[in-house]
């Protein structure tokens, strides 16, 4: 807050009123200056607090709406995969209570749940939308850097990190040539990665559907995360 420091350092020159106040009683200049400085700081703090509240209130709903759409559109695919697995599981159970497919299907269902949760965690921890950069620029211009740590620091590197994270989970699905649902691109069962990705689970599901002799149409309802 450079302007505040400047204002406090030379209260007499900041305006004729200030000069008048302090010049009249020369002996009391120092205590009066201190008093005035305290008042100024208090007013700036109050103003700042009011501003933060007002600024927050003005955009909370906008942020909520953006996040809501994003969360719903990304997570719906995970729900579709879980619903599909759950239907297959209940169907196998109705056909044969001791079906050997129950266990692998349950495992995949758990894996989708974990995958979904970790994506959600990343989404809620991810930095704000790119256009916030404009705001951040203006805050930097105002020399407010020490009081805007969270948003500012994480912006650049945070966006990069988010992209990288998505790469591991979702980016593969965006490439049609590597579609998990296409034949001839199947992972061997039993080689379960430590952190199964959406595409790996979808591939395993496709493999089970095929081995059950069911139509691959079943998998058509599953979207790809982010689409």
């Amino acid at each position: 807050m450079s302007w505040l420091r400047a204002a406090c350092a030379r209260p007499g020159q900041d305006g004729s009123a200030d000069a008048d106040v302090f010049d009249d009683e020369a002996d009391e200049t120092l205590p009066a200056q201190r008093e005035w400085k305290k008042r100024v700081e208090r007013r700036v703090r109050e103003g700042y607090r009011d501003g933060v509240d007002a600024g927050k209130a003005a955009v909370l709903q906008q942020g909520f709406n953006q996040g809501y759409k994003e969360g719903a559109e990304i997570i719906v695919s995970y729900g579709q995969l879980r619903g599909t697995l759950s239907a297959l599981l209940s169907w196998c159970g109705l056909q044969d209570r001791g079906s050997p497919w129950i266990e692998p299907l349950s495992d995949l269902l758990d894996a989708v749940g974990q995958c979904e949760q970790s994506v959600l965690q990343r989404l809620t921890a991810a930095p704000p939308q790119p256009h916030v950069a404009d705001l951040l620029d203006s805050i930097q211009d105002m020399d407010l850097c020490p009081s805007a740590p969270a948003c500012e620091k994480s912006e650049e590197e945070g966006l990069g990190r988010f992209d990288t994270d998505l790469n591991t989970d979702c980016r593969q699905e965006a490439d049609p040539s590597r579609s998990p649902l296409s034949p001839g691109h199947r992972t061997q069962r039993g080689s379960r990665p430590a952190k199964p990705s959406f595409s790996w689970i979808a591939e395993q599901t496709a493999s089970i559907v095929e081995q059950l002799g069911l139509s691959a149409d079943i998998l058509q309802n599953i979207g790809r995360p982010g689409n």
Binding site: V59, G67, L214
Partner: protein, 137 residues
């Protein structure tokens, strides 16, 4: 102290100015915080609804495929019910938080889903929403 009223006004105005300058800076930071905070809540709510609707979609679509070869009267009734549920979800703008009927429609879809499950005599074993209690958000 020749003109006390003017002096007093000047002090008040200066204080107002300092308040206003603080306010502007606070507003800029508050906007940034508000977007982040609002977005975080939004993502979590949107993900809840998306996850739930996705589950119903995947479940209903898969069962419809599983029953496509079956020809009994009971099976075609199940298919009609599944079609009706899928139709309700197709029209449902689950990703639009400004849609006024969001909760009403969601409740109707939940009711329909329960009917479908009971007709199919199955208990879907997915939790609705990751790590959350079933059917509540």
């Amino acid at each position: 102290m020749d003109q006390p009223p003017d002096l007093f006004d000047a002090i008040v105005m200066a204080e107002e100015r300092y308040h206003g300058e603080g306010y502007q800076e606070g507003y800029a930071e508050g906007s940034c915080l508000g977007l982040t905070e609002g977005r975080r809540h939004g993502v979590s709510h949107g993900a809840n609804v998306g996850s739930e609707i996705g589950c119903y979609q995947g479940f209903a679509f898969t069962w419809k495929c599983l029953l496509s070869e079956c020809t009994t009267e009971k099976d075609s009734k199940k298919r009609r019910m599944l079609d009706s549920l899928l139709g309700m979800m197709q029209k449902f703008p689950y990703a639009d938080p400004t849609y006024a009927q969001l909760h009403e429609d969601l409740d109707r879809i939940r009711g329909k889903f329960k009917q479908v499950c009971s007709l199919l005599s199955v208990q879907p074993n997915f939790r609705v929403g990751p790590g959350r209690s079933a059917l509540s958000f």
